[in-house]
């Protein structure tokens, strides 16, 4: 913020010019990509498409809808994980890099539980719903426990030390958990049992007429519904309950909050616990959707979720969720709707690059994130 204020008064420096150029380049590339995509959809034999990519084929409406749905469900999971990053950053002002591992622990709990239930014949038919609820509760509990333990053992002793120290510690915690899981379960991928037929089946929604009819796989629908409910519950908790109010107060100013009689330590533990629970639920959804989990499952989604938290505005819960959904959707759509029409080879391989370019773009255009950051007074200084 301060640099922006300074820049206004003084002459533009070379860096400013470069950043402006970068903004124009990125936005220009997006605009050209979009125009090329639309043109390709209307006329696949147009000269630009022939020049950039002679084999280019237009996508069908079904395929575009499929991409949107997959992007939304992936994004909903990023959003759920991002909540934990965002809340901890809002309250403690450091990035808990081990949060991705909390998510992975949730997914692993789901792997163990779902396979036990499947062996008992409870992972199909009518027993599936209570089984999934049980698995989700268990995963949320384990993830919560891990997050709380992490705070108690690794971060609380460092409270008050420079911010870089808990940050580095969190990277250490992340490695520790990853390797502990490798030791317990081995390095290979672990599979979830197959989902029941009725869940996997595609469901059709034509509320807005045939042209807007959507076919969604039950699993993805489940992810979207559970994520929405979890988010709504969290919002209610933070904005409407006394504990939530205490969390917001601690995020605003720890010292004054404690002068007002708020137990700061307890509130911080609650923050970790709630973030952990969200990550645990995300872990189960991941397991149901992709049916495979590995010790390093938490790494990339963790980084993406952190990106989502920054894109949405750090410390802003709605922003974290919206950031996650926009990141997931951008990742799914941009390779085929921007990069492919521009003639990039193997565009879907670049989805991670798309995610981080989106981050750069948001930071260039709106440095506080799409929905504005909410930080404590000391962080803003």
């Amino acid at each position: 913020m301060t640099t922006a204020v300074k820049a206004k008064g003084s002459k533009k420096t070379g860096v400013d010019k470069f950043l402006t150029l970068l903004r124009f380049l990125l936005i220009g590339a997006i605009a050209i990509g979009l125009i090329a995509f639309v043109w390709q959809q209307i006329d696949p034999n147009n000269p630009f498409a022939r020049w950039r990519n002679p084999d280019a084929q237009p996508l069908t409406a079904e395929q575009i809808k499929g991409l949107v749905v997959t992007g939304l469900s992936q994004g909903a999971m990023y959003g759920l994980i991002a909540l934990g990053y965002s809340m901890v950053y809002g309250v403690l002002g450091f990035i808990n890099f081990a949060h991705g591992e909390v998510f992975m622990l949730g997914a692993f709990t789901g792997f163990v539980t779902s396979n036990k239930l499947a062996d008992a014949g409870l992972w199909e038919g009518g027993a599936f719903i209570p089984s999934v609820i049980m698995t989700a509760v268990l995963a949320a509990l384990i993830a919560t426990g891990a997050a709380v333990l992490m705070e108690r053992v690794a971060y609380r002793p460092l409270r008050g030390s420079p911010r870089l120290i808990p940050l580095i510690t969190s990277i250490g915690v992340s490695f520790f958990i990853q390797n502990a899981v490798i030791l317990l379960f081995g390095p290979g991928a672990k599979g979830y049992p197959p989902n029941p037929e009725w869940l996997q089946k595609k469901r059709r929604f034509d509320l807005l007429g045939d042209a807007f009819a959507f076919e969604v796989e039950g699993t993805k629908l489940l992810v979207l519904v559970v994520a929405s409910f979890s988010m709504a519950g969290l919002w209610y908790f933070v904005e409407r309950t006394k504990t939530g109010k205490a969390m917001r107060a601690v995020a605003e100013d720890k010292e004054i909050a404690s002068l007002m009689g708020i137990n700061v330590n307890k509130t911080i533990v609650t923050t970790f616990a709630v973030g952990g629970a969200m990550a645990g639920i995300a872990g189960i959804l991941w397991g149901l959707l992709f049916r495979s989990v590995i010790a390093t499952t938490g790494f990339l989604p963790g980084i993406k979720a952190f990106t989502a938290a920054v894109v949405g505005g750090v410390g802003n819960l709605g922003g974290a969720m919206a950031g996650g959904v926009s990141l997931g959707t951008a990742e799914a759509l941009a390779p085929l709707m921007l990069l492919e029409p521009l003639g990039v080879a193997g565009p879907t391989q670049l989805r991670d690059a798309v995610a981080f370019l989106l981050l750069i773009l948001v930071l260039l255009v709106k440095p506080t994130g799409l929905f504005g950051e909410r930080l404590s007074s000391e962080d803003r200084a």
């Binding site: 084999d55 280019a56 084929q57 237009p58 996508l59 069908t60 079904e62 395929q63 499929g66 991409l67 997959t70 992936q74 390095p187 290979g188 991928a189 599979g191 197959p194 595609k202 076919e215 796989e217 992709f290 049916r291 495979s292 590995i294 390093t296 990339l300 990742e331 799914a332 390779p335 085929l336 492919e340 193997g346 565009p347 879907t348 391989q349 989805r351 991670d352």
Partner: protein, 436 residues
């Protein structure tokens, strides 16, 4: 930041190797004088041009195994390493000297892993040869280091065409002298798959997906090239990242061309996600799936979604083929293997590694002479022997080494996977045979 650190450390490591290599070259040149007049007259191969290794009385001849023995691809590397161990045991002594494999080294199935292991191998000047790597990606980094040190490397499971030649007399971009393999060249595997899809099944449009690894990229390219040559149309060629989980975007990209066949010669876990999600993408409902030996493993075949997929891979119907150096055939090998390890091999290249080891030991026997109580091995002679291998009979069949190190029998079979609960039946369900 992490990437930058990695890059810096790789550059640092490379500079160290460069320094080490130049040192080696000077010492080798110095020791040449003693060996220069060895030659064929004394009854051993080699002209001493790459230096000699002296094994002192009571010592052992050093070779190494470099395979992917940990991580996701351990299923491929472990049987290779055990094949090496068994071959050494079956072969016995060479001119009264034991052969020592040391501790099995790990190529991590990556260029980084291959390079690190190769550096530790070349640091020991007693080592004559290496059996490995498991993965082509590891070999691209390891082969030049090992070749430059005067050693030889014989792989039982590298199949990337880039490591040897295009079969038209042109060296591949990653070929280095001193590299050999008993595994097939993927040009043959790609051609076999293309012929099966186009001629046998009559499908005329196809797409391919790889994961950026030299093995998968090489095989996918070999397939699409052969398919186009036969008259088919390639409607899409794309790649996933190894750690991708959501395959809907890449499958949608492929679906835009509505191919009748989709060939994805990749590994687990990415392969699991493709097989699982292909049904949910509009436009691929009638597309038939084809995969290669990377996914021809029990872990993948046990998944219900892998049913109906056809796989190409080396012909493992070895029958009564005997390794001519040890006299062991496939059944005898498997008996010993199962007794020692409590399981059947998890990947099909154990025989290739066994034959590779026996060939290396033959080469050492042919290129060595006793000098007092010591055994002296001529490095150039080892290469001379391997270059000249013609009509060697191994467990995998007849082995002939060409000018670029391709020695494999090049027999490919294609199986159709019927049931995820009866893997043996699926593996025996051979639909197509290919031999060049």
């Amino acid at each position: 930041m992490k990437k930058l650190m990695k890059l810096l450390s790789v550059i640092f490591a490379l500079s160290l190797v460069a320094a080490a290599c130049s040192d080696d070259a000077t010492t080798d040149a110095g020791s040449d004088t003693t060996a220069a007049d060895g030659g064929g007259d004394a009854g051993y191969l080699g002209d001493g041009s790459l230096g000699e290794v002296t094994v002192e009385a009571g010592g052992a001849i050093q070779i190494r195994s470099l395979n992917a023995i940990t991580g996701d691809v351990a299923f491929l590397g472990l049987p290779n390493q055990r094949g090496v161990e068994q071959a050494i045991a079956d072969y016995g002594q060479i001119k009264g000297f034991d052969v020592d494999m040391g501790v099995g080294l790990d190529d991590l199935c990556s260029a980084d892993g291959g390079q690190a292991a190769a550096q530790s191998i070349v640091a020991d000047e007693q080592v004559i040869g290496v059996i490995g790597t498991s993965c082509s990606g590891a070999a691209t980094a390891a082969a030049p280091l090992i070749g430059n040190a005067g050693m030889v490397m014989i792989s039982g499971s590298n199949t990337s065409p880039a490591l040897t030649s295009d079969q038209q007399g042109n060296a591949g971009p990653d070929y280095s002298v001193g590299y050999y393999r008993t595994a097939h060249n993927d040009l043959f595997q790609g051609a076999a798959m293309a012929e099966y899809v186009f001629n046998e099944l009559g499908l005329t449009t196809a797409a391919a997906i790889h994961d950026g690894d030299p093995y998968t990229d090489g095989l996918a390219t070999a397939f699409t090239n052969a398919f186009t040559e036969l008259g088919g149309e390639v409607t899409g060629y794309s790649a996933v990242a190894k750690e991708d989980t959501d395959m809907v975007p890449v499958l949608t990209e492929i679906a835009a061309g509505s191919p009748e066949a989709l060939f994805f010669p990749i590994f687990q876990p990415a392969g699991d996600f493709i097989a699982d999600q292909v049904g949910s993408v509009s436009g691929l409902e009638n597309t038939q799936l084809f995969a290669a030996d990377g996914l021809l493993v029990d872990g993948f075949l046990e998944l219900p979604q892998s049913e109906g997929i056809s796989f190409s891979g080396p012909d493992t119907r070895f029958g009564e083929n005997k390794n001519e150096s040890t006299g062991v055939n496939a059944n005898q090998f498997l008996e010993t293997y199962e007794a020692a390890n409590g399981e059947a091999p998890s990947a099909p290249f154990w025989g290739h590694s066994y034959d590779a080891t026996a060939m290396l030991l033959d080469a050492i026997a042919a290129a060595s002479y006793t000098d007092g109580d010591n055994l002296v091995i001529d490095r150039a002679g080892v290469r001379e022997y391997l270059n000249g291998i013609k009509g060697y009979s191994g467990i995998i069949g007849t082995i002939n080494c060409d000018d670029f190190g391709d020695c494999g029998s090049q027999k490919i079979t294609i199986i159709e996977h019927l049931s995820s609960s009866d893997l043996d039946a699926s593996k025996a369900n051979v639909k197509f045979e290919y031999a060049p």
